[in-house]
């Protein structure tokens, strides 16, 4: 009787020890769900979701504090992917949020006074320039977040929608007439 209890308690202790050791050894630092959500988000870092960047929004979704339909740059497609990942029903974009075609910011070089305010606002360091020097936006790095527009004191930045060119053109979804079967 006692030996049986001792054996069981022993096994329990050993296994518990192993589990305890494993939980320290194989500890997952970051919440893997946050990473997965962050991978779906478009990384524009625009803050339209009400969080200061894509990662904080991903964290909020993971904690259940934010809805999945707050990301306009991700669009309906992004909401669908998030819904799939989280096992919830997809829903339309939140009120007042609207998906826009992808655009890049362009500085009017004749008007720029070199104040560096837009450089400080850019979340991805896509603006090059120095104090009292003309600034320029690296179009390839620009996420189109529009965060540089409000700080500009002379309103010299505007958004230009990226046009489709021969390199980025996509074949359209084939639409064809189906024969009517009587």
């Amino acid at each position: 009787m006692f030996s049986a209890i001792l054996v069981m308690a022993g096994i329990g202790l050993v296994l518990g020890g192993v589990l305890g050791w494993a939980s320290i050894k194989f500890r997952v630092d970051d919440d893997p769900l946050v990473e997965k959500i962050d991978a779906i988000l478009p990384q524009t870092q625009c803050g339209q979701c009400g969080f200061p960047g894509c990662k904080p929004y991903a964290e909020a979704i993971a904690k259940g504090e934010a809805d999945i339909n707050k990301c306009p740059p991700g669009g309906e497609e992004g909401v669908k992917h998030l819904a799939e990942l989280l096992g919830v029903e997809p829903k339309p974009l939140g009120e007042g949020l609207e998906a826009k075609p992808k655009a890049v910011a362009v500085i009017d070089e004749n008007m720029c006074i070199g104040c560096t305010l837009c450089i400080q606002a850019c979340p991805v360091d896509a603006i090059v320039g120095a104090a009292k020097q003309m600034h320029v936006i690296v179009a390839d790095q620009c996420t189109g977040c529009e965060l540089c527009l409000p700080p500009c004191p002379v309103d010299c930045i505007h958004m230009e929608v990226i046009k489709e060119d021969v390199a980025t053109w996509k074949w359209r979804y084939p639409i064809h007439m189906m024969k009517r079967v009587e």
Partner: protein, 555 residues
Amino acid sequence: MSRKLFTCNGGVHPEGHKDASSGTPIVILPLLPRYVVPLRQHIGAPARALVRAGDAVLRGQMIGAAEGYVSTAAHAPTSGRVVAVEPHEVPHPSGLTDLCVVIESDGLDQAVEFQPLDWRNLDPSALRNRIRDLGLAGLGGAVFPSFIKLNPEGAGIDTLILNGAECEPWITCDDRLMRERAAEILQGVAVMRHMLGAREVLIGIEDNKPEALAAMRAAAAADVEVVAVPTLYPTGGGKQLTYILTGRETPTGGRSTDVGVQVFNVGTAYALHRAVALGEPMLSRVVTVTGHVAAPGNYEARLGTPITDLLLAAGGALPGSIGKLVGGPMMGFDLEDNAAPLTKAVNCIIVKHSSLFPAKPAVLPCIRCGACARACPADLQPFEMYWFARAKDFGKAQSYDLFDCIECGCCSFVCPSHIPLVDFFRFAKSEIWERERHKHDADQARARHEFKEFRLEREKQEKAEKLAAKVAENKARDAAAAAGVAETAADPEAERKKAILQAALDRAKKAREGVTPRNTENLPPAVEKQISEIEARRAESGAAQPETDPPRAES
């Protein structure tokens, strides 16, 4: 025939229509008044324009330089003046415009001095760079920059295959080129062989071109084997021809170089010969103009020739034509605008007529007959890929090796329900490419955003550290000052500075006191009186007096 040939699965036998254009010799197009040269005529990055509107150019002058690795140059087709560097219609399925150099000919056709290449003795890398700057790209249709394909490093190529199969219906430009210029083609092959170090050279020609076979055999050296391959579409596909001639199957997602084979089109070999023997850049190509035109045939036209002029050279489209095809009927696309110019990629223009290209029957649902899978030369299952592409489930479509599809059109050709299968595959491919692009952009943006946050944090920390150091320093100084006032007072340097400062202040004060207004001497009594009145008023109001400093805001 000694060589054992292998048989590809699948393939179809569409009606050839080759006789329409193969009977007459290649006609060289006369000089035209205007050329439009696109800067993106090849796969990869477009060339960077080297000229501006108003510049004078000569024939063969480089007007666009290769930009990045996968790119090649563009050249002026004749001498004249650059009218514009602007977006212009190009032969592309999208019908979109692309950056082109528009050149107005001066009628003189003066050329720059061409330097033949000493290909046997030139350093391989230097030779490849010269070939890049001569603008060579594959003329078979994929227009991949040739200088990259001619780099043997790391590829381990032992076999060079020259593709003269020309399996697509209607097209006969390679056929005519082989019949008329076999010797030049083979000289180009010798250069390719030298550059690649290939042991074996095979030239694959479909057996429906006996004249081309005979001409090539007559011109070929003993160590070059000209092989007649059975006529079956798409024998001219690079991977298919490789398998038929060598039995080596290209692995999924790979290229023929993975099995030690490099494939070039006969037209590319001809252009390479002209490049090394004459030093001439890629300025023209042979193009088939056929279908519903007055004089179907093959035309050697300069790159940049507007397709309108090409059609005019072929006698113009006959009445009743219903549009034009660029390329063949299996893989080609509809031309949106005749203003688009001839590029390195365009091997054929077909003018359509309803009797030759009847309207496609209405589409019926897929009946899962499997005819497409039997016809597929890449051993894929088109019907499975179709389901997923139609449902926009691209991941699943990709898991059926969508990217091994060569878009040959065999599946659409045999489908009893007339489903445009290839259209779905092209759609799915471009969607997947776009996703990859977006993902790449997002990854880059994430990394840059994270770095910015890290940088801001670091700057904040550095500032805090600097401040802390300063505070500590001030504290130490104050402590030192409190500890020994005498010490600081005794500092001879500080004393000296203080003395100098005091002396300067004294001098300034003295100077100020000494100054009297000069315009108050020898004045008439009336003015004197006025002055004294003003002085009196000033004293009364208690305003600033001339001797004292003006009142200052409290600091």
